[in-house]
Amino acid sequence: MTNRATATIHGWLLLLPAMACLALFTHWPAVASFVDSFMSTPRARRPARFVWLDNYEQMLADPIFWKAMANNLWFAMGTIPTSIALALLMAVWVNDRIAGRTLVRMAYFTPTILPMIAVANIWLFFFTPQYGLLEQIVGAFGGRSTNWLGSQDTALYAVTIVAIWKEAGFFMIFYLAALQAIPPSLGEAAAIEGASRWTYFRRIQFPLLMPTTLFVLINAVINAFRMVDHIFVMTRGGPDNATTLLLFYIYQVGFGFWDTAYAAALTCVLLALLALVAFVQYGWLERRTHYR
């Protein structure tokens, strides 16, 4: 046997356990979702049959699907820019010699390691009408009583705020690492040229942080489609689907109504969105990002 053939056998033997698991729980279910999205949901005495685009037609006519898509879009637009901007601000602050720097950094990072399902309980109480903490603060300033999670106008904002609170500190540490990697000589040179601090940030620090911003951005986009744990505790998608996000709707359809074929079609939409993110990341953003 040739050397190359031996190496190939060795290589694939080493890969085999991991590849088998990935094939079973990532590749196969992705393909199966696609196939099942063209089938009907199997019922007791009626096996699944090929229905071509029926599930997708049902989706286009489904107001809750469009509501979930719109909610997810607003959720993404609320969480992504705000959490990234806050993360950058936190990192710039913690990078300076401010008072109590270690404690401040710890405070920002703590939400990252807490279970979302647990902190959602605390936030639920925070938003509770009448005797919740927020209500008391608003009341102390003479504001009107609001049912934050029970009103269609405010519920989505409330769950968006919780998501921002959870992920900003996580993104901060990447900015912090990147800020610390900027050579001090750049700051010295800029100071000799008489650049203001804002100019130094805008023209030197911020462009050098672009690879980090890209990395954080991709993570924030994926999180916007993945973070649903707090929905289970705080609103269960309500009131009247005002906080139903795409993944939560997949859960409801797949495990509440047991309509697996329609859930498969919804899964395909989610996978297509994630593929689009990957495509934008590798095909377009990577080429336009300034690398050190």
């Binding site: 060795h10 080493l14 356990p17 991991a18 199966a32 990072f109 797949g254 498969a264």
Partner: protein, 288 residues
Amino acid sequence: MSAAPRPQPMAATRPDPYAPKGLSLTLESLGAILLALIWVLPLAYAVWAAIHPAEYTTRFELTAPLTLDNFTRAWAAAPFARYFLNTFILVTMILAFQLVLGTLAAYALARQDFWGRDIAFALILAQLMIMPDALIVENYRTLARVNLIDTIPAIALPYIASAFGIFLLRQTFKTVPKELDDAARVEGASPLQVLMRVYVPLAKPTYIAYGLVSVSYHWNNFLWPLLVTNSVESRPLTVGLQVFSSSDQGIDWAVICAATLMTSAPLLVGFLLFQRQFVQSFMRAGIK
């Protein structure tokens, strides 16, 4: 982490001309501390509610009596001891498999040159985008077919091959000098011996970083465990807490806050004790 702590680059020996001084430093500190206070407010509030009697849950008086009653009531109201055990078994099982599978795969990808390697790498990286959460419907059907629903292995299986872990270890193995590898082979070591004696010890910081990230992630994971478990014997803490706090025993916020703190406590205490390792691990895991 390695024996000698890495020097903190921010302790710059040269003065930073843009470091704020005087009034601007004071203002910046105030802003940072204010934001930090807002950030810890939910947690601080949970602590307040948990250690005071229920009538002080929404009344903030410094003289309020302290009590551990809420913790004992929460502990007695649900089988939290079993949930802790389940979560412990779960995160240990996942991490052990992830490390073994990841090490073998990463070694093949980093140091073996063979037919199909690049295709295999691309197939593995696909999992970075298609996270297991998106595939709950099909994965549930797969596990139902083999009768594994409502077992701890069912929670673990979709996660034991981690593209993220394989990628992280591959990058680390690639930085190991080839000379060390060659020298070990000249001594007559088999490929697996080289892996165990040369690569694994040198990648220790990566293993620790990945281990912390993986344990925190799976300790906190909720959606998938919720779907595949329906009994006390298999439920992890997060699902147990949700069942406990949504059951109709009347909303007693003090007890719920105590239960919430209990479930988060091991990670929280670990984080407070090893703050630097946690932050550096998450950082190392993110920056490849």
